[in-house]
């Protein structure tokens, strides 16, 4: 399991590829699923110029670890990777990546979805968007669909 908070922009696909290379588990996994969430330049009908993602140092990391542990208990996974940005974020920047490696695709898809949905609903992150009308806190999660 690897859990990371990134204060600077990161390249999610490079991170996943590098993690898989270091995993050194070729032949063991038959499935890898990856979710990448990026910053949109629109929300709630407004153009968004940038945002600041605040977190609770210590509790946020602990919570991400707990979510990953819960996924590992629920499905037979070989590896879980979560990386989440914090701080100042611009449109098109990657915000989060969740990746799962497992023997079969069923648990890989389900666990990856579980990670991102749990993370969005429970992990202590708060978005402050910068719009033409000034800054605003985002009060609720975006819907999944």
């Amino acid at each position: 399991m690897k859990i990371m908070l990134a204060e600077q922009p990161f390249e999610p696909w490079q991170l996943v590829a590098e993690h898989q290379r270091l995993l050194d588990a070729g032949g063991q996994y038959g499935a890898a699923t990856v979710f990448v969430g990026s910053m949109r330049d629109f929300n709630l009908g407004d153009q968004v110029q940038s945002m600041f993602l605040e977190h609770y140092p210590g509790m946020t990391e602990r919570h991400l670890e707990k979510i990953a542990q819960q996924a590992e208990q629920q499905w037979p996974l070989l590896e879980v990777l979560i990386c989440h940005r914090v701080g100042q974020i611009n449109p098109a920047d990657a915000i989060v990546v969740t990746a799962v490696w497992s023997a079969h695709r069923g648990e890989a898809f389900e666990a990856c979805r579980y990670l991102i949905e749990e993370l969005k609903h429970r992990a202590p992150f708060w978005k402050k968007e910068q719009t033409a009308d000034g800054p605003r806190w985002v009060a609720e999660n975006t819907p999944a669909e």
């Binding site: 969430g37 990026s38 910053m39 949109r40 605040e54 609770y56 210590g58 509790m59 602990r62 989440h84 940005r85 915000i95 989060v96 991102i116 993370l119 969005k120 609903h121 429970r122 992990a123 202590p124 992150f125 708060w126 978005k127 402050k128 806190w137 985002v138 009060a139 609720e140 999660n141 975006t142 819907p143 999944a144």
Partner: protein, 79 residues
Amino acid sequence: MPITVKFFAAMKEQTGKDEERLPIGSMATVADVWKAATGQQEMPEHTLCARNMEYVQPDEAVTDGDEIAFFPLVTGGAL
């Protein structure tokens, strides 16, 4: 040891407080900590509370040295 109180996001702006330390005095619950830290204000609806970095309800008991945090609903990464 005093109790450490932390506020995050909009709640930090609303209370004008980031972090402070309070003697436990007669505080028995997380809700008591809120009142002591905010000058007896009512806790806004939907406030989330954490004790030592775990989610708890406002009626959770507190002890010396605890870290108590108050914050609004969380907003995770964009889908």
